[in-house]
Amino acid sequence: MAVNLTAGAITKILNGEVSSEIDLMPVLQVTELKMIPSRLQQNQESNNRYKVLLSDGIHLQAGMLNTTLNTLVIQGSIQLGSIVRITHYVCSLIQGRRIVIIMQLEVIVAKCDIIGTPNEPGQRGGAAVPVNTQSNGGFDQQQARSDVNGGRYGVSANSPQPQVGGLNNSNDGRYGVSASLAQPQVGGTNSSDAGRYGVSAAASPQPQVSQRYGTGSGYPETSPSNRPYVSSNAGYGGSRQEQPRAPPATTAYSRPVQSAYQPQQPPMYVNRGPVARNEAPPRIIPIAALNPYQGRWTIKVRVSSKAELRRFNNPRGEGKLFSFDLLDADGGEIRVTCFNDVVDQFFDQIVVGNVYLISRGNLKPAQKNYNHLPNDYEIHLDSASTIQRCEDDGTIPRNQFHFRSISDIENMESNSMTDLIGIVSSIGTTVPIMRKNGTEVQKRALQLKDMSGRSVEVTMWGNFCNAEGQQLQNLCDSGVFPVLALKAGRIGEFNGKQVSTIGSSQFFVEPDFPEARELRQWYEREGRNAHFTSISREFSGVGRQEVRKVIAQIKDEKLGTSEKPDWITVCATISFMKVENFCYTACPIMNGDRPCSKKVTNNGDGTWRCEKCDKCVDECDYRYILQIQLQDHTGLTWATAFQEAGEEIMGMSAKDLYYVKYENQEEEKFEDIIRSVAFTKYIFKLKIKEETYSDEQRVKATVVKAEKLNYASNTRCMLEAMNKLKIGDANSLPESSNYRSDAVNSGIGTSGTRDTASVNARREFGVPAANQVGQYGNQYSSGARSLGGVTSCNACGSNSHVSANCPSLMSEPQGQYVNGTPGRYNAGGGMPRQNVGSY
């Protein structure tokens, strides 16, 4: 049917007269119909949009069909040549170009021949036509290409393409900078746009088009400067062009928004395919801003430390990993870990001290067991990650320290990490230490001093002993006391506080920090001669507070049952000694500064073999292993005394005693010796620990030191303790009366003997007064174990008050005494014990 196209409609549209259906509902013919599949954001669904060229017989106009009209196209109602009346549309000016967005139309004729020879608006005359065709052709080409390319974006290669047509290759899927500045043809520039959707179509072939594009990448001169914008424009242009991409509106709007927001990042337009690498300048963020929810990030960092390659084995199989620590200009620190293949990729690339740009890693929560950096996250790199070396940046420090002074360390928790700086005052030799699991490890100790007036022992393990240890040793030997900075040392509680190295610790000898210089100056001035208190106490246990206890407390207080052994001092008598096996044959081979002392086995031919040293010796050592029974007024316990303590107790070396007994067969002499030892009183330092013997838990006491009792000093101790007690709470007074009975016993008991009796009496009197009077008293009185805190007046026996407040009491100014009722005392009350000697 013959239909008249609304002539001049296009012109009117173009010049703004007509902008929507309100003005005119033109009848136009579809001269071009292009489907642009748009995959938005990797959605599976493709929303095809149709781009049309509408003709009024004279001119052509680009338009986009709303998706609602897609069905018409698919049906075939709208096809090339269809005549339609657009009933609901809008003409928008987009980047200087008019696009007609059609929401509704009426199909008048579905199939028709092209009427007239409509031109693209803006074409210049005849040239237009051929250009058109060319362009069309090219356009087609490009369009085709653009279709192919559609949705892809990336950097457009700089292809100075004289041919419009040829342009778009580079554009394929490229988006972004139109490098194509050099293109003489405007069209060329459009190629960058082509990145969009083959923007190429846009234009290349058509000068007009390019003009239209003009604002966009169109113009070479503008392009370069508008590099970042080019893309956007490109996108724009693209959308503007007859490429149906996203609805122009959105692209139009989204574009500027995006570009304004993130100029470096390509807007996520229509992704048609894999995203090509974006080479826009990276956006560098500080380490502190990294989090798992961050999109693409890049950090500029210096590698502050690099760990060794480690292999591991877990249920999923074998693997390897390595990690390195990073530091950025703001002082942020983070650790990076690479596993398996990624290790191969990056291991060689990473050099400590270099500055790198790192991006596209995964952020994971940090493993605090291994990672001691102050960051909640750590980076895991994968094969998509990038590490790029860049030139040194002075603003990024080489190392970050959080130094603490040694006196602070005293108050810090064990197993926490710290950085230290100090002067090395002494350094020991490397000793091999046997670990519980049987492996040997090197250990080396050094003393570190700092301005807080304290010194601490720093223990180096493993490799540190050799490398840094040797260096430090050399320096110390030559008289220089070097400044040592230690990063990531663990605080331990072994004999006071001390610091140990861990795998990721780092030593810096004579570093060039302001703190180091300060320290050096201070040392020169005063530190050299100053006195230092060590927070790491020596092994001899001198630092240990002497805790006086009575034997009954070992059981009562369940000493030794906690994880660590308990060290106590008791004043007790040896009441019995096992005479069999009082010594053993020991290995005399020196291991460091101590003899091996492991039991050697008799080879039968007079030589002795040590398992540990794996050697044979002719003469073995004899070392004491005395089982003695210790007794004090509260109870008795077995203890084992080894060599040193044994010698003190017995008064002779184990070897001699052995000879006396076995070699010389001097039984009598032997017996005499033993007898003389028995019932001697000592101050014993005991180590109490619970150990498991074939399913049984036993509390074992080892005599660490045995000292003959110095009565005078002991008494003083006791007096002090008594005083403390008096000052203590009143509740203890009733109990104290109970042990006074003991004093009475001892006092009376020993009054008979002349020599040091009274001294003894005092001592005995004093002994039970050791801090635990209350408790002891409790036991004593009740016979059964403690009912501490039961207050009853010793004087009158009522429960309402203590003896201190007892109304029946007559108190003297110098102290309080109770008309003690012996009732509370147990069997021995009031009467002297018969076993005077030991008591």
Binding site: Y711, A712, T715, R716, L719, M722, K726, S737, R740, S741, A743, V744, G747, I748, G749, S751, G752, R754, D755, S758, V759, A761, R762, F765, E812, Q814, G815, Q816, Y817, V818, N819, G820, P832
Partner: protein, 107 residues
């Protein structure tokens, strides 16, 4: 063991409380004559001890058990050499405690 006549531990200051009673004390000998020994008590007061048969030679420290005659004299029945080293402070404390807080333990 004979506990029929217990003696109280005294130092110089406490002696006056037990006049006429049996006491015992340790003194540091400052001088000796026939029949008497003069010494310093553990609280630095002078005590004269009369009696027969003080031991000879006398060591620095001497314990005497006897009847208190006055606040600075004792008639000794028993003398014992306590040697040359002695902790007077401890003994002093003992005296104080034995007659004060813990009197019941002693007599």
């Amino acid at each position: 063991m004979d506990t029929s006549s217990p003696s109280a531990f005294v130092n110089g200051a406490l002696l006056r409380r037990f006049i006429g009673q049996k006491v015992r004390t340790v003194i540091q000998v400052t001088g000796s004559e026939i029949g008497s020994v003069v010494g310093k008590s553990t609280d630095d007061l002078q005590i004269v001890v009369r009696g027969s048969s003080p031991p000879s030679p006398l060591t620095t420290y001497l314990e005497v058990i006897g009847i208190a005659e006055s606040d600075n004299a004792i008639r000794a029945e028993t003398w014992t050499n306590f040697g040359n080293t002695f902790d007077t402070q401890n003994y002093n404390e003992l005296c104080k405690l034995a007659n004060g807080e813990f009197k019941h333990l002693f007599i």
